[in-house]
């Protein structure tokens, strides 16, 4: 059949031949992406509305990338995409386990991630591509889970390092009333103590419910935000911890004092940003946008990286045996490239993927942490998040 293809495609035929000669039947490496959608309120900004293929589009790109290499290696990759609700998630997980899929990428919140990890036990390796909970890397760590999503501690530390470099050590911390907001606020308190910043004032912005959209809602917002931030102690910057997306985006330009905003709005620490162009990022963005017809989101980067980890392990071990891949991913020899300018590796004490964190505004990357001046005896990336001696994780 390949003989029938002529002209420029002759090269493509040539690609197939060496692979075919080495391994007549490509080895199939199966994975799944399980996304658990929580039916919550829409985001404050309609620009943040989640696309239907959130996370899945990143998975598709990873499978394309893996397959391009796989053609040369006699390997074929696939990832089943499952969108579940909190009610159906356990059933869907069971189906994947029963099908014998041993690499499952999870896009779920902290509690759901933990529950699914316990359900999977030693039947699959779970790759956490969304949940940021420090407890998942600490007292609630599970040996079967590796964390591609950065932890809250890593995000807070990345911002703290930058603010110390900027010489803005006095923080006015405003957090929401949801448990995840409280957890993020705690991460900023920890980061402040670690890097020598002071939280000079703390306030809680209570979520009193209600609709996100109202006609001319900005009129009230404009009146409320200055008042809410009035008479705070002298501060250099407002730090917001608002994972529930209730108020932070309203604050820039509406604070009582003329101060910049960071955290959940303003300068935001993220694993990825659609404007990132360093370290070959442009090609990655272009490939993604051609495939998905939209700019990339963090969830897509994180599922992409999760499945690239599986692909990279398959390439390096030249194996499709799940056990061999898992062992290699957790070994000292493993690293993977993720368009962040250095090799990404897995911490052996909590299975968190070490990675630089981008500090981004709406349209650009302002900086990338770790900042140069924060050194470390083993990896500079371990200045972000909970280091080995601090970790509460104890694997059996």
């Amino acid at each position: 059949m390949l003989k029938g293809i002529i002209g420029l495609l002759a090269g493509a035929a040539a690609l197939a031949q060496p692979a075919a000669a080495q391994a007549p039947d490509p080895v199939l490496i199966r994975a799944a992406v399980l996304r658990v959608d929580d039916p919550g309120l829409p985001p404050i900004s309609r620009l943040d509305l989640p696309p239907a293929d959130l996370g899945f589009a990143g998975a598709r790109l990873a499978i394309e990338d893996n397959d391009t290499t796989g053609r040369f290696m006699g390997q074929d990759f696939e990832a089943v995409e499952i969108a579940a609700t909190p009610e159906t998630a356990a059933g869907e997980m069971q189906k994947l386990l029963d099908e014998g899929i041993e690499f499952i990428v999870l896009l779920a919140d902290d509690d759901m991630t933990l529950a699914l990890a316990d359900q999977a036990g030693d039947r699959a390796m779970l790759i956490n591509a969304q949940a940021r909970g420090d407890n998942l890397r600490g007292e609630d760590c599970r040996f079967n889970t590796i964390h591609v999503a950065p932890s809250r501690a890593m995000l807070a530390d990345s911002l703290a390092q930058f603010l110390m470099w900027k010489n803005w050590p006095r923080w006015f911390l405003i957090h929401g009333s949801h448990p995840e907001d409280q957890a993020m606020a705690e991460a900023y308190r920890r980061a402040a103590a670690k890097f020598g910043a002071q939280i000079v004032e703390e306030r809680e912005f209570e979520d009193t419910g209600g609709a996100r959209r109202t006609d001319s809602g900005h009129v009230q917002v404009q009146a409320q935000m200055p008042v809410f931030t009035q008479r705070a102690a002298q501060h250099d910057i407002v730090i917001t911890a608002d994972e529930a997306d209730v108020f932070a985006a309203y604050l820039p330009y509406l604070t009582w004092d003329p101060r910049p905003v960071a955290g959940s709005a303003g300068l935001v620490p993220r694993s990825w940003h659609p404007a990132m162009e360093a370290w070959g990022g442009t090609q990655f963005q272009n490939r993604f946008e051609r495939l998905a017809n939209r700019p990339i989101r963090e969830e897509d980067y994180q599922t992409w990286l999760s499945l690239r980890i599986v692909g990279e392990a398959a390439t390096r071990t030249q194996s499709g045996e799940p056990e061999a891949l898992k062992e290699f991913i957790l070994s000292d020899s493993f690293d993977v490239a993720g368009f962040k300018g250095q090799a990404l590796t897995v911490r052996d004490w909590d299975h968190q993927v070490r990675q630089p964190i981008l500090l981004t505004t709406g349209v650009l990357t302002t900086s990338v942490s770790p900042q140069d001046q924060y050194l470390h005896q083993t990896s500079q990336l371990d200045t972000l998040g909970l280091d080995r001696p601090e970790s509460a994780c104890r694997f059996p």
């Binding site: 420029l8 002759a10 090269g11 493509a12 040539a14 690609l15 060496p18 990338d65 391009t68 290499t69 040369f72 290696m73 070959g280 442009t282 090609q283 272009n286 490939r287 390439t315 390096r316 690293d335 993977v336 490239a337 300018g341 250095q342 090799a343 050194l375 990896s379 500079q380 990336l381």
Partner: protein, 323 residues
């Protein structure tokens, strides 16, 4: 300062004074969208010329009459008269050309299209695309064997060196190397192929006859974190005795005994050192330092950095005109 008067008249006068381009150094500046020309004798800047958007890879024809520049954001290769720096014509390159290599005979040009997983082969005389060869994800580094029979392409996300037959345009072998391979360089006798891996932090030494990795060169610099050691550009002396490797954000060039493939020295250069080029008699090596906007000049005999010269913003590629 009068060197900066880069009017055409000044250039013509220069060209008349030294008809051969001997020892002229051309540096692409990725951010300032221009090219800096240095005098290889005095190491002074002769002039700065616009060369299109996001110029990166650069090379020159063996007879020194055509200068090729990858204008990445223009999706083409611009060809200049190196004497006048006037644009002569453009070549189709496929999207986002980054690096290329010229066949030793001067034709054709093999271009890596980072965005399209292709190597494009272009006839520099007829300006036509001869072939598009599908390779791995994010093709980047390009090397050619001294006999012109094999072209090497490295793909950054697939992590392979692809061996391409220049007669048939078919891939004949794929060698898996460490993460993000950036550059491929043969020794002049064709007996060895060096492939640098930016993220892997190594240089793979490959026997082109068997396509096997015979050794991996690793780097260790006191006081420099391992993740900052990112091998990118590489050049080997034509006698096959010394290999130089640019180590990116480690801000150093490694000197390697190319007979034993052991590192002998590290030379401190500017920030984020990217690509390298020898002058024709291989007494000097030029480095482009992207984050400090300068070129370091290394004395090859003594392995010492003797000068740094300010160029444009974010210098990327460098080539020296042949004698």
């Amino acid at each position: 300062m009068k060197h900066l008067l880069c009017s055409a008249a000044a250039l013509v006068a220069l060209a008349a004074a030294s008809p051969a381009l001997a020892n002229r150094v051309f540096v692409t500046n990725e951010r300032s969208n221009d090219l800096t020309v240095l005098d290889g004798e005095t190491l002074e800047v002769i002039g700065t010329y616009p060369v299109g958007n996001r110029p990166r890879g650069i090379t020159i024809s063996p007879d020194g009459t055509e200068l090729y520049v990858c204008a990445s954001d223009d999706d083409l290769v611009r060809v200049f008269d190196p004497n006048t720096m006037e644009e002569m014509h453009t070549l189709p390159s496929g999207p986002d050309p980054e690096l290329f290599v010229l066949h030793p005979s001067g034709n054709p040009l093999y271009i890596a299209n980072e965005d399209d997983n292709l190597v494009t082969v272009v006839d520099v005389k007829t300006h036509r695309v001869l072939a598009e060869i599908p390779v791995g994800v994010e093709p980047e580094g390009m090397g050619v064997s001294p006999d012109g029979r094999v072209v090497i392409n490295t793909s950054e996300t697939t992590n392979m060196a692809h061996f391409i037959d220049t007669e048939t345009f078919e891939i004949t072998a794929n060698v898996l190397v460490d993460s993000r391979p950036r550059f491929a360089q043969f020794t002049a006798d064709g007996s060895k192929l060096y492939v640098t891996s930016e993220i892997g932090g190594t240089v793979s030494v490959i026997d082109p006859a068997t396509q096997e990795i015979t050794k991996k060169i690793t780097f260790e610099i006191p006081g420099v974190l391992p993740e900052a050691i990112q091998p990118v550009g590489a050049r080997v002396t034509s006698d096959g005795k010394k290999l130089y490797v640019a180590l990116g954000p480690a801000n150093r060039v490694a000197v390697i005994d190319a007979e034993t493939d052991e590192v002998t020295d590290y030379l401190l250069v500017g920030q984020r050192v990217w690509q390298l080029a020898f002058n024709p008699d291989e007494t000097l090596l030029y480095t482009t330092n992207g984050n400090s906007n300068d070129v370091s000049v290394i004395d090859v005999q003594r392995d010492e950095v003797i000068r740094s010269v300010q160029v444009g913003q974010q210098p990327w590629g460098v080539v020296v005109a042949p004698n």
